[in-house]
């Protein structure tokens, strides 16, 4: 009986089936995750250096940023940033005389996920930079390197192996956080799954299929992460 209840043809890639729609949703999720994660890394690097080497005011502002993001649910932040971000952009463009602009869901999603991830990676990178022996950075300073060169040649490469476990966890969190954009109506995997399930009434089938896709994304990511970690730690003594 159970075998008859499952209509596998619903998952076909061609239009009567919804497989293609699900895969397109997965691609959208991956795009947002990649974009948001990269933006988060840039913000996080700036945030970590600001927190460690910035002036007292900058440090406190960074602390407020990471505290708020870590204490308020992602869902609330996403709504706030989504409306505030699009609203602000519209007002700026109206003030410049361009009229209201249509902001693509993809850009808004990347911005929102990026700001949230930025706070998380600030904390991870800060911890990793602190794990670099102070003598190495002092030595670079003693050789007369500029702060930017120290960052590029010493701090960033030396802290990377320390940061990788945290950063890879953040990537996994990032891929799962993209699902929250379903609430603001961006057609990523979770939302298209709900639409497909609502249309066909095959709720179990589609939600399980989406779960498998997310799980595959996680497992493939874990494999790639393992390779990257092995490469980043090749200089470390075997433990």
């Amino acid at each position: 009986m159970a075998a008859d209840m499952i209509n596998w043809s619903l998952l076909a890639l061609e239009p009567p089936g919804w497989g293609g729609v699900l895969l397109a949703g997965l691609m959208n999720s991956i795009k947002i995750a990649l974009g948001g994660y990269s933006l988060g890394l840039v913000l996080g690097t700036g945030g970590a250096f600001g927190k460690l080497y910035g002036g007292p005011v900058l440090r406190d502002l960074m602390e407020v940023y990471t505290t708020v993001v870590r204490a308020v649910p992602e869902l609330v932040l996403i709504l706030l940033l989504y409306y505030a971000g699009t609203d602000l952009l519209n007002r700026v463009s109206a003030a410049l005389g361009y009229g209201s602009v249509d902001i693509s869901g993809l850009a808004a999603g990347i911005f929102v996920i990026g700001v949230v991830q930025g706070a998380y990676s600030t904390e991870v990178l800060r911890g990793a930079i602190l794990a670099v022996p102070a003598g190495q950075i002092e030595a670079a300073r003693a050789f007369g390197m500029s702060p930017l060169m120290i960052m590029r040649r010493v701090t960033l490469p030396a802290m990377l192996p320390h940061a990788l476990p945290g950063l890879s966890n953040l990537w996994l969190i990032c891929t799962k956080d993209t699902a929250l954009l379903a609430v603001v109506g961006f057609s990523e995997l979770t939302l298209v799954t709900r639409q497909a399930a609502g249309t066909t009434k095959a709720y179990m089938l589609f939600f399980c299929a989406a779960g498998v896709l997310y799980l595959l994304l996680t497992l493939v990511s874990s494999l790639i992460i393992r390779v990257i970690e092995a490469r980043a730690r090749r200089g470390w003594a075997a433990r």
Binding site: A71, S121, A179
Partner: protein, 289 residues
């Protein structure tokens, strides 16, 4: 035989720290100290912050607040109820899940590991919708379920929210407790056995308390993350504080004010949670001052 397995487990499995550092990065686990607030630049910053708060209070619309105060308070109650019930329930599931992974036979530890992987590898929103829409559409097809005493509850939304949040907490916390169980020094367990404690007594008096003690800081972070996950139940029509605020936004056509209030409410709840955990952590006597 038993002792040998216990001996090999800790060295092989205590590779958790990076996980914990990420937890600290994603959940607030410590509060600022009051004494440092009196530095000159902080006083200036606080003046700026006070100015912003004053402007927000003066120029934004807050006249809806008294009308909805009761609804917001009951929403906060539902959120807290969700948080406390699912954390406690999830913890009860997490302990056996962790335990079978540390000492159990393979036919118990493998499913436990699989459970953790699946739950941790998929978004909570998807699990929630799978339970609510998926199971919710499946149950009415069985007359046995429709006639059972559970049916009035299964037609509501909150059991699915509680189930999804509990499963999620059990999976994440199971992973944490696994490391904590494995990390309890072997000598303490051997000492308990040498005193002639039975397995149950050893577990209740030594192994579990020591593991919980070790896991307490991590537990703090996981609970904050659980608080941050509770607004998701609003998507399946549970009326928590997030749902109340969404309703207010629809009725009053205000974009920012209710959301800012919501963010403030969650900030306060997180701070209270962290303070409560700090109080408990301080009550546990430790040798390292």
């Amino acid at each position: 035989m038993k002792g040998e397995r216990g001996a090999s487990a800790p060295e092989a499995r205590v590779t958790l720290p990076p996980e914990e550092s990420t937890l600290d990065a994603t959940a607030l686990t410590s509060l600022p100290r009051g004494r440092a607030l009196l530095e000159p630049h902080r006083i200036a910053l606080m003046a700026v912050a006070a100015g912003i708060v004053f402007c927000a209070a003066w120029f934004m619309r807050w006249d809806w607040l008294p009308q909805y105060a009761g609804a917001i308070a009951s929403g906060v109650g539902v959120t807290l109820l969700m948080l406390v019930s699912t954390s406690l329930l999830g913890f009860f599931f997490a302990v056996p899940i962790a335990l079978v992974q540390v000492t159990g036979p393979w036919w118990l530890s493998l499913p436990a590991q699989g459970f953790c992987t699946v739950i941790r590898g998929t978004p909570l929103l998807l699990q929630l919708w799978l339970l609510y829409y998926g199971l919710g559409s499946l149950f009415p097809q069985f007359p046995e379920i429709r006639q059972s005493f559970l049916w009035p509850y299964l037609r509501e939304a909150w059991p699915y929210g509680v189930a999804a949040l509990t499963l999620s907490f059990a999976a994440y916390e199971g992973e944490v407790m696994r490391g904590a169980f494995a990390g309890v020094p072997r000598g303490e367990l051997e000492a308990a056995r040498a005193y002639g404690m039975s397995r149950w007594k050893l577990f209740w008096r030594i192994w579990l308390p020591r593991a919980v003690h070790r896991a307490l800081p991590t537990l703090n972070g996981e609970t904050v993350l659980q608080l941050k996950a509770t607004p998701l139940v609003a998507t399946i029509t549970v009326i928590d504080v997030y749902a109340v605020i969404s309703k207010i936004r629809q009725v009053t056509y205000l974009t920012y004010e209710p959301l800012l209030l919501l963010a403030l409410i969650y900030l306060i709840l997180t701070a209270l949670l962290v303070a409560a955990f700090r109080y408990f952590e301080k009550r546990i006597p430790t040798r390292s001052a």
